[in-house]
């Protein structure tokens, strides 16, 4: 696999991780204030 391809895959993984962590951060903050579980229920 070329270096460019590897870098693109890494970029996609980082974007996906950022998206998941972003929503989890908001959910965690809301849960802290209001109560709730970090996982389960709606993903969005």
């Amino acid at each position: 696999m070329s270096l460019g391809k590897k870098r693109m895959i890494a970029l996609l993984i980082i974007i996906a991780a950022g998206a998941v962590l972003g929503r989890l951060a908001v959910r965690a903050a809301l849960n802290l204030l209001l109560g709730g579980t970090l996982f389960g229920g709606n993903f969005l």
């Binding site: 996906a16 908001v26 849960n31 109560g35 229920g41």
Partner: protein, 321 residues
């Protein structure tokens, strides 16, 4: 030379990775904060052809004693159903203006809708409590009926509704005051409103281990002088009954739709089980919807939120016409 270029390229890719992470993190967080899967369900395409709003109509002597009235543009019916929606805010904050969206939605469905303000507990109003607030709501209903009549909308039935503190006040009117209401109360719906006050239920505040703290808070909420040794006695039941919606439920109570978060940190989820149990025991038609992953904001269970919406629709159609 080649090594220098490779270092520069690596450095640029590092920047790209960091930028991509920050951008996707921020976009995802912003989307999570703004996304409401049911927004379209309760949004009315509001214009003069749908309805009209009359704001800040007084109903009592206090500066907070005002209501907003949303009337449908179609004034041709012989009679209308009234839906009163009471705002949240922990009995200490909030305003009817915050419920504009749901009030417009109710009005677009053909009901006369009213948002009512009540005197909030504060340093300026230390004597305000759940009971005085519930009595203000009771006081407002004849004024709402009269104002609607003056505008040409005869009311012949009503539903009570609200969120959190507003839900508590809505339940108190629906279960405690319905018999003396100038309009027949047909149903009540709402979410996350405290329905009764037993210290063992209020573990979220540690009241199950600290009866003194429970007595203090329940005294402020009820306006009664409640002491820790009263819990479990008839004297306590009598003192708290006036703000305990569950205590007023009997076989004549109105159909109910209610929603609660199983992980609520703001009020006692356990107390809502007593509400469900009382409604079941007395054979009152009701939908008790638990959001298993959510807290006070009912924020983590879209499926349950849809069910709650569907039940409100179903009950409004069945009992309010």
């Amino acid at each position: 030379m080649k090594a220098k270029e490779r270092r520069k390229s690596s450095w640029l890719w590092g920047l790209a990775y960091a930028g991509a992470f920050i951008a996707s993190f921020a976009a995802s967080a912003a989307f999570k904060m703004c996304y409401d899967p049911l927004a379209a369900e309760t949004a009315a395409d509001w214009n003069d052809a749908v309805g009209k709003v009359y704001t800040d109509i007084p109903y009592g002597n206090g500066p907070a004693n005002m209501f907003d009235l949303y009337v449908p543009a179609d004034g041709s019916k012989d009679a209308y159903g009234l839906v009163v929606y009471l705002h949240p805010g922990g009995f200490t904050a909030g305003d009817k203006a915050g419920d504009e969206k749901i009030l417009k939605w109710l009005c677009a469905k053909g009901y006369v809708a009213a948002g009512v303000n009540y005197t909030l507990f504060s340093e300026e109003n230390p004597d305000a409590n759940v009971y005085t607030q519930s009595m203000e709501i009771k006081e407002s209903i004849p004024f709402i009926q009269a104002e609607a009549g003056r505008l040409g909308y005869k009311l012949d039935r009503m539903a009570m509704a609200g969120g959190s503190a507003g839900h508590t006040l809505a339940m108190l009117y629906a279960y405690r005051d319905a018999a003396s209401s100038p309009l027949p109360v047909k149903m009540v719906f709402g979410a996350v409103g405290p329905s009764c006050f037993y210290p063992e239920d209020w573990r979220v505040f540690g009241f199950d281990k600290n009866y003194g703290a429970a007595a203090g808070m329940f005294s402020v909420m009820s306006g009664e002088d409640i002491t820790a040794d009263m819990f479990g006695s008839e004297a306590y039941e009598n003192a708290i009954k006036k703000i305990s919606a569950v205590s007023w439920i009997d076989e004549n109570s109105v159909p109910t739709v209610c929603a609660y978060g199983a992980h609520d940190k703001v009020q006692a989820f356990e107390a809502s089980k007593r509400l469900d149990e009382a409604l079941t025991r007395h054979g009152v038609p009701h939908a008790y919807i638990v959001f298993p992953h959510s807290g006070h904001g009912l924020q983590n269970d879209a499926k349950q939120a849809r069910l709650y919406q569907d039940k409100i629709h179903e009950y409004l159609d069945a009992y309010m016409g």
